[in-house]
Amino acid sequence: MNPVRKKRLFIILGILAGVGIAVGLALSALQQNINLFYTPTQIAAGEAPKDTRIRAGGMVKEGSVSRSADSLDVQFVVTDFAKDVTIRYRGILPDLFREGQGIVALGRVNGEGVLVADEVLAKHDENYMPPEVTKALKDSGKLPAGAMGSAESKQ
């Protein structure tokens, strides 16, 4: 490579490195704003702002979902297996909502420490399986914890 081209190549690499570092610093400074949701541990530690709408995310705890008999009210516990957050919601839940499923709820934490949600989104994980495989895994007791509730609800 002749020296002129080499110099141009180094200038370009230098610019790229500079832009990369600048963007990297900006993103790490904005870390909290880019995260879509707070985990129950973060909420328990007081990292989530009070008196404003926040998103909480985690797994729906097994056996914690209680539905009201005469309305769309539903209450459940979201956990990250260290801390729990109770969530109250009125409305139609997404198809994928079930116990053991990851969800994200948008709402306000009230005085009792309960998150009153006005939007609940289901989070899908990266695992894909045909239904027969899920059944076989369930029969042999090897199904991962997250998929348990869903396999039961399909029966």
Partner: protein, 247 residues
Amino acid sequence: MNWTWFHKLGSPKWFYDISGRWLPWLSVAAALLLAVGTVWGLAFAPPDYQQGNSFRIIYIHVPAAILAQSCYIMLAVAGVVGLVWKMKLADVALQCAAPIGAWMTFVALLTGAVWGKPTWGAWWVWDARLTAMLILLFLYFGVIALGQSISNRDSAAKACAVLAIVGVVNIPIIKYSVDWWNTLHQPATFKVTEKPAMPAEMWVPLLIMVIGFYCFFAVVLLLRMRLEVLKRESRASWVKAEVERSL
């Protein structure tokens, strides 16, 4: 390593000849792979245990998203080649690839939204993955607009190359957004170091679709580049001979 093929790319006539020889093969491969992948993925692959049949959008969504990012990396490489080696063909490639990449990004965003509504319960969420992908779409728009708005070809080429190179910083952000931050978008199903979190009867048609999308991209890119080369070299004698032969 032998670099003669790279230096030969400096000659538009050589590119026109060689691309003409590749095109039929690539077209046949693209048509075959896309047909097989679509039928296999949409009709014969098993449904997912949670999402049922709606997961099948993966056979369009994932290849489009992969292509959208690969195409932008290609834009940046073409930009570096154009700036360092002053190769005219690099600018042709950059200008011709940008609209294809923009369409791929749009398809990925659209299919993602269509899948997100039944699965997540929302068409759009401002999470890191989705937002970074939207920024990629705007970067493509920027490259296209910049190329069209500067009438001097050399200045336009330089400006587009710089934008393409600077914008490539967004690609690792898209890739690692699901690992660095809490997002609603799930992490990657396919990792280099691990077995795919998906059985073979699901990922084989997906792999066929991804290769098919690459072939399709190559075909469309070569067709567009050949036309652009003819336009730019319209005063050369070989172009006149070529046009006369085809008339």
